[in-house]
């Protein structure tokens, strides 16, 4: 029974509904090119700031020097960038919920996972563009892929996995925020300590010892280190700890774990959110 006209298995609907929602968000990116522009420009600014302003003051040990720092930096910025990708989806989700469009989605006989599935997919497309932009910037300041092709592909896949998993974290946060303004702050607040207390900009060995344990296990450090390893970029002060020995495996583990936890949590929050809130 239904007035819908086509019969398809549930998974088929999940895919087609997700694509429909993703199309909405991709169209939106084209309608507000400014937002994509600033998403693209932000990592470029970080590269320039750290490569030319802070870079000289950061100690990479014996094999240091500006060129080495840049090769160390770019994989770190890759990791930082996929973290920041979370913020925009957090705001978008809260905005949708407050506008009532999410109520409309929820009152449609569509797959419950598709609204977030489509939004996160569009976010992944945006992240891919940012990663391409960052690769070009990196090449321009002297960063090179020095490892093998398979490893390089693996590095990009790992970055995309993280971007995707984190967009689900962002969606989950967004569904719990009262307004887009709060979501804007909340989406970023936890990312700053995670990205800075990591090996993104500075080697962990230069941090105070009480911070090193956190920084070693920090998923952002793992991702940065894994990316350096896969791209064949310099790894100063190689550590002995488990995460520093197995960054690639651990990063994939973190990525899948985040996805496995936050995708179901976000879908559940989507189904139960009382976004109207008014009696």
């Amino acid at each position: 029974m239904s007035t819908t006209e086509q019969q398809r298995p549930v998974l088929g609907w999940l895919v087609s509904d997700t694509m429909a929602v993703a199309k909405r968000h991709v169209l939106k990116i084209t309608r507000i090119p400014e937002s994509l522009f600033f998403a693209l420009i932000q990592p470029v600014m970080f590269v320039l700031l750290f490569a030319f302003v802070f870079g000289g003051a950061i100690n990479l040990g014996s094999d240091g020097g500006p060129q080495a720092y840049r090769e160390f930096l770019i994989p770190g910025i890759f990791a930082q960038t996929v973290m920041f990708a979370v913020a925009s989806i957090t705001v978008g989700i809260t905005d949708d919920a407050n506008r009532g469009i999410m109520d409309r989605f929820r009152s449609l006989p569509m797959h419950p996972g598709a609204v977030l599935g489509g939004h996160t997919l569009a976010s992944l497309i945006e992240s891919s563009l940012v990663i391409v932009m960052l690769s070009i910037t990196g090449l321009a300041v002297g960063w090179r892929i020095r490892g093998g092709l398979t490893d390089a592909v693996l590095a990009y896949l790992l970055l995309l996995l993280f971007a995707y998993a984190l967009s689900w974290v962002g969606a989950w946060i967004g569904l719990h925020m009262p307004s887009p303004e709060v979501a804007g702050t909340a989406g970023l607040a936890w990312i700053f300590p995670l990205t800075f207390a990591s090996s993104v900009f500075t080697p962990i060995a230069t941090m105070p010892s009480w911070l090193q344990g956190f920084a070693q296990w920090n998923p952002v450090s793992c991702l940065a280190l894994a990316t350096r390893e896969l791209f064949g970029n310099p790894i100063p002060f190689p550590g002995e700890s488990f995460p520093e020995q197995h960054p690639v495996a651990l990063s994939f583990g973190y990525g899948f774990l985040l996805l496995a936890i936050f995708a179901p949590l976000a879908v559940r929050a989507f189904k139960t959110r009382n976004s109207g809130g008014k009696a």
């Binding site: 239904s2 007035t3 819908t4 929602v21 909405r24 939106k28 409309r104 109207g276 008014k278 009696a279």
Partner: protein, 335 residues
């Protein structure tokens, strides 16, 4: 006649706030039910439960024969919902919005495009179809929103305050559209704070206050329940209010209702136009200066005032839901 919507014993609490205290009503197939009440009376909560957006704490709601909790997918396939906010994407065009919702209603690509065209035409949006919603007027947004809720050709339509915030002309346009839908056999449940709107559109009205159904019936039944004709008068000085009520007791067919702030008195009468002549004579005799006096048929405003002791539009503060409040009105009424 079979019911399109059946609600029995529905309750919903938000923390300590009781939004719904066990409400019951039915909506006949093909009819319009007006859910009337001030802000916070539970109208939106009721709609959200019926539209499967919210789970009730207890009680049962059946829409088109399907339980809203157990069979939400079946319910979603036969309903359309228009909320208080235009629930469309600002950055997409009117056509893109409708096609998106059509696809999500599982129409084929071709049929989604066809349906979008039909709806744009029907709601007089063809010219604006390929412009972004950002440039639409309030009335156009609401029409598009209504169009979006009709994508799946729903047999039951929920309209949550469909005309709130619209200018008078757009409101009349909305009413026309809603009447057309009903002519085509759609069952409509609409919430409104505008008594006039319920009067115009609804064949049956359910009055909600503080999560309780305090009255239901046709507009005429509700009006009859508060009595026949009434004299409405405004005295020039508020200290004359009590005197005025006293001097009119003899011609009143029921108890007078006083609105202190507006210095207004409503006196139910049975004598038709002779009673107003008599009223003027008596007030003049008692030397009570009056600003305005008129004889009128009860409106739903009167119904609301008589049932709750306060006026519908402006209730935001906590007022004990007083059915006993027939005698004197809560002060603080604005007109």
């Amino acid at each position: 006649m079979s019911s399109a919507i059946e609600v029995s014993g529905l309750t919903k609490h938000f923390g300590s706030v009781k939004a719904l205290n066990g409400i019951n009503f039915e909506v006949e197939q093909g009819s319009v039910l007006g859910l009337l009440g001030p802000n916070g009376s539970g109208k939106t909560t009721t709609v959200r439960i019926l539209a499967t957006l919210l789970k009730p704490d207890s009680g049962k709601a059946v829409v088109s024969g399907f339980d809203v909790v157990e069979q939400h997918d079946e319910v979603r396939a036969v309903i359309g919902l228009t909320g208080q906010y235009a629930a469309v994407d600002e950055y997409l065009t009117g056509r893109e919005n409708l096609e998106l919702f059509g696809r999500l209603f599982h129409l084929s690509k071709k049929n989604a495009a066809k349906r979008a065209d039909e709806l744009l035409e029907r709601f007089d949006l063809s010219d604006a179809a390929d412009r972004g919603i950002k440039g639409y007027s309030g009335g156009m947004r609401r029409r598009l929103d209504l169009a979006a809720s009709l994508i799946g050709q729903p047999s039951i339509l929920f309209l949550d305050e469909p005309t709130t915030g619209l200018d008078p002309r757009s409101r009349l346009g909305m009413w026309e559209v809603i009447n057309d839908l009903v002519k085509d056999g759609t069952t409509v449940l609409l919430t409104t704070q505008y008594l006039e709107e319920a009067d115009q559109l609804a064949s049956k009205i359910v009055v909600l206050d503080h999560g309780n159904v305090i009255a239901q019936g046709t507009s005429d039944e509700l009006k009859t329940s508060v009595g026949g004709d009434r004299i409405e008068l405004v005295v020039a000085k508020s200290q004359d209010l009590a005197n005025a009520v006293n001097s009119l007791t003899a011609i009143a067919s029921g108890e007078a209702v006083t609105d202190v702030v507006a210095r207004r008195i409503l006196v139910p009468v049975s004598g038709g136009s002779t009673s107003i002549v008599e009223a003027v004579r008596r007030l003049d005799e008692s030397k009570i200066e009056i600003e305005d006096i008129a004889l009128r048929r009860p409106t739903l405003d009167d119904v609301f005032l008589s049932l709750t002791g306060h006026i519908a539009e402006e209730v935001t503060e906590e007022v004990p839901a007083g059915r006993g409040g027939r005698r004197s009105a809560k002060s603080g009424g604005k007109k």
